[in-house]
């Protein structure tokens, strides 16, 4: 468990650093809405973000179920905020990785970074 936690911390830091400033906050949260680890350059309330993330993902799971889409029918959720920031949520094993971007982000680059880090499973995760 300690190894998994350390690896998740490294994952979060790596995403922040590799995004070259486009991602301002990253958190890894559980499906029951608890924060595991986070890194933020802006004000960030991890407990609240975790609860909201689990709720959003639960609602999307229900939507894919009711529309008879594939099991696990979505890979990521992208919410554009009024100030042109994005909240991007990706599944990562049994967890969710949630990112908050700067306004008007380079989404292609951010998605490349996320795909690079989230496509490989971490030891102990």
């Amino acid at each position: 468990m300690a190894t998994a936690y350390k690896n998740l911390q490294m994952l979060v830091e790596s995403i922040i650093v590799s995004s070259k400033g486009w991602v301002e906050a990253v958190a890894v949260v559980t499906q029951d809405g608890s924060p595991l680890t986070y890194n933020a350059e802006v004000e960030f309330k991890p407990d609240f973000i975790a609860a909201i993330t689990a709720t959003i993902c639960g609602a999307c799971d229900a939507a894919t179920d009711i529309l008879n889409l594939n099991p696990g029918g979505y890979e990521s959720i992208d919410i554009q905020l009024g100030d042109k920031r994005h909240i991007i949520i990706n599944r990562y094993g049994d967890y969710y990785v949630v990112c908050l971007t700067r306004p008007n982000p380079n989404l292609g680059f951010i998605n490349l970074v996320l795909r690079a880090f989230l496509s490989k499973s971490l030891e102990g995760v």
Partner: protein, 168 residues
Amino acid sequence: MKVFKIVVTGPYNAGKTTLVKTICSEALTTDRRVSSDELVKPYTTVALDFGLVRIGSHMVRLFGTPGQSRFHFMWRTLSIGMDGYIFMVDSSDPLSLDDALHMYMFFKSMHPNTAHVIAANKYDKENKLSLDAIRHALKVPEAVPIYPTIAYNRDSVVNVLEALINLI
């Protein structure tokens, strides 16, 4: 410090959001205006209520569910990994007990071994039902305690939460 995930659930207008707001200094709510003409209250929860509160040496993460059955998919989502739940009913509204029974059975069948208590809310109203009547209407097992509750009274809410934590 032990952290508990506690879900506050129950039918529409039972007082779940009030409970979370009463006990948590900072609470997230997702209230939206009710569109029905049969206006029982102006706002209703559509996703969740959330707040953190310290009870003794424990930290409690409170998740409030929507009460309306059309949001039943959120009941399942919000109850993942919970340590216990408070099932809240409006003790002054006998007509709401049908919905309450349906919802209580849903939670009991989904989480048969999860600790829970019943909060008979609005117990300061004159026309409240007795605790025995609520137990009978909801088919609550004798082992599950029912507490008279006033959701806007902090001491009353703390009492219910402490009782639940002691059961976990």
